[in-house]
């Protein structure tokens, strides 16, 4: 199979996964306890209004009609109306989504940059004190749930030292800039970003570090490393250009999984730091029975993970010339 056929097959797989995912969502949100319509109904309605609302939402239709309608709405980005905000869900979620991406994206990039470098060095200096210490530190970081790391950082840097703000995304009263840079580049924003992003970075650091170390150990046993050393190339070249470059391949696959973890983690980190992102919005929505909003948030998180898996597979093909397209 050629590259093109592989990509085509992978796209097909992507579509199937998406379909399975939103079917799962449909089933989940129709499984709500009690009257399946009650969750869509706001309190204080007369029976007539209620009937009308049900008809509006198409809930009097047979299940398969509802399913088709639901699919159509999701595909067109129509997530319905939020119960609490009384605005279209899409308008609320887009802003929150961006905030989450900025926060978790920063955390992941930091975690992977540091993790890959650290792991490579740990593998290279096998059996050194640096390696042993590094393993203990990463294992401890990995053992800590996001909220716990967040609380520790919060207690130390916000409450005790007072260096960073403890919650939110910008100081209240601060001007909301128009453009992306004004919005996400201001010093005030970065000060708010620091602690939550650091929390994520610490928690997600362990996976790339440990994986990089263990694949490094594998790669370092390969004959070609010995040849590269025999070629007289500087140690740095052998380490980064050859050993690390080969070890990085499995990391690419894991990155997709890490994005999934980060999407989940955003729920916790945003709650701890009161970050106005999608994760916190989702918790609020579930707590307030605002199901359209909760569902939209869940849908977007899942989509990010599925698309990341897809990108990871394609990147892998690009990075490893040996890949056989099954």
């Amino acid at each position: 199979m050629g590259l093109r056929a592989y990509v085509a097959r992978r796209i097909l797989q992507l579509i199937v996964t998406f379909w399975a995912f939103f079917t799962l969502l449909f089933v989940l949100f129709r499984m709500m306890p009690g009257d399946p319509t009650s969750m869509f109904i706001m309190d204080g309605m007369t029976p007539e209004q209620r009937e009308q609302r049900i008809a509006e939402l198409g809930l009097d239709q047979p299940l398969y009609v509802q399913y088709v309608e639901y699919a159509r709405q999701l595909l067109t980005g129509d997530f319905g109306q939020s119960f609490i905000y009384r605005d279209p869900v899409i308008d609320i979620i887009v802003v929150r989504f961006m905030n989450t991406i900025v926060l978790m994206g920063t955390a992941l990039v930091i975690a992977y940059l540091i993790g890959i470098t650290f792991g490579a060095i740990m593998g290279w200096w096998r059996d050194s004190r640096f390696e042993r210490g590094g393993i203990v530190v990463t294992l401890i970081a990995r053992s800590s749930p996001e909220f716990w790391v967040g609380i520790v950082l919060l207690s130390v840097f916000a409450f005790w030292l007072g260096w960073f703000p403890s919650s939110g995304m910008r100081t209240t009263g601060g001007e909301l800039g128009g453009g992306f840079v004004a919005r996400y580049g201001s010093a005030d924003f970065l000060r708010h970003l620091f602690l939550p992003a650091l929390t994520g970075a610490i928690v997600y650091l362990a996976t790339p570090t440990l994986l990089m170390r263990s694949t490094m150990l594998d790669v370092l046993n390969a004959d070609f490393i010995e040849i590269k050393k025999a070629e007289g190339l500087p140690e740095r070249t052998v380490l980064y250009k050859h050993a690390a470059r080969n070890s990085i391949l499995p990391i690419v696959t894991v990155m997709a999984i890490a994005t999934g973890a980060a999407m989940g983690g955003s729920v916790v980190i945003e709650t701890v730091f009161n970050w106005p992102g999608m994760g916190r919005e989702m918790v609020n929505a579930v707590n307030n029975n605002d199901y359209p909003l909760a569902m939209a948030a869940f849908f977007l998180m899942g989509s990010v993970v599925i698309i990341m898996n897809f990108i990871a597979d394609l990147t892998y093909v690009y990075l490893d010339p040996r890949v056989e397209y099954e």
Binding site: F21, P33, I140, P145, G260, A294
Partner: protein, 313 residues
């Protein structure tokens, strides 16, 4: 060949001896591995605390074994509101005047239950899926692996939140939510391991003598991938405990079973995070220590499974 006859008692003690030997050989992997030993020690401590957390009454002996908790963890106003640590309340009190130390000790149980049950079930499902998928191959493999892929597309915590919101906040539902996601990694890893075992001569010879599929899978292949299963079980315990703690921290915990995560949730809802360090830090440290212990043990097992990782020396 010995001509001596062995009595049943001898063979029974022999069996016990063999059993102990077996355990000892299994524990040998921890020898010289400081991290693994620390992990084991912490885990055993938590196990003991969990088992003896609350009083036991053995009725026909009319005996009560006292629990470890100095107070009833749910009882209000055993002390003042938000008291800092004192001799009477070594870890202070909550906003309702409950004893933090007692809550911490009682919370060990929830952690142990969630950790062991969820991990066992997830690894059980994952191992079977991986085994069947790899052994039969073809469309069975395709279907099972596509399902695994799809589960990989589901973000863990949000899914658990939605499921618990639908099914209600109980420990059982939390465990179900965790298991439904957690089996995926075991399935993938076991599958790839079984794929390589499938090619080996011992499987072919078992097939040649006409052993059934079930027999080959469970009697011949499974024992060979079991070390890997244990490794993933150790990790699964860690992830399950983290997931339960996170869910409880977000307020979706079982309201009838106080867990460490829920204690921290209570601190948040009581708005006491700034002042009541004695209430926040103990449960957080406990979670971290517990998960750390299983990850340390997991690392030791990892070196057994993958000797490449082992330290020279």
């Amino acid at each position: 060949m010995s001509t001596e006859r062995t009595s049943p008692i001898d063979s029974a003690t022999g069996a016990v001896g063999d059993g102990l030997d077996y355990v000892r050989t299994k524990l040998e992997v921890f020898e010289g591995d400081r991290l693994g030993q620390i992990g084991l020690a912490i885990l055993v401590t938590f196990l003991l605390i969990g088992i003896f957390a609350r009083p036991y009454t053995i009725e026909f002996l009319d005996l009560t074994i006292p629990g470890l908790t100095p107070h009833d963890p749910g009882e209000r106003a055993v002390g003042g509101r938000l008291e800092s640590p004192s001799a009477d309340h070594p870890l202070g009190t909550t906003d309702m005047g409950r004893d933090v130390l007692s809550q911490l000790i009682a919370g060990t149980r929830v952690t142990l239950i969630v950790g062991s049950l969820a991990a066992f079930m997830a690894v059980f499902i994952g191992t079977n899926v991986g085994l069947v998928s790899a052994y039969f191959g073809g469309w069975v493999d395709d279907v099972l692996m596509r399902i695994t892929d799809i589960v990989y597309g589901v973000p863990f915590l949000p899914f658990a939140i939605v499921l618990v919101a639908i099914l209600g906040s109980s420990l059982v539902n939390i465990i179900v939510a965790i298991v439904l996601i957690l089996w995926r990694s075991t399935a993938r890893v076991i599958r790839s391991q079984v794929l390589s075992h499938k090619q080996r001569p011992y499987v072919e010879s078992a097939q040649a003598i006409g052993a059934s599929h079930t027999r080959i899978m469970y009697r011949h292949i499974l024992p060979n991938v079991l070390p890997l299963t244990f490794l993933y079980a150790a990790f699964a315990v860690g992830w399950a405990v983290i997931a339960e703690a996170s869910l409880s921290f977000l307020g979706f915990g079982d309201p009838n079973m106080l867990s460490w995560g829920e204690m921290i949730y209570n601190v948040y809802t009581a708005n006491a995070i700034r002042e009541a360090w004695w209430w926040v830090f103990p449960p957080g440290i406990a979670i971290m220590l517990f998960v750390m212990s299983v990850f340390f043990i997991g690392r030791t097992l990892e070196e057994v499974v993958n000797p490449e990782l082992r330290h020279q020396k």
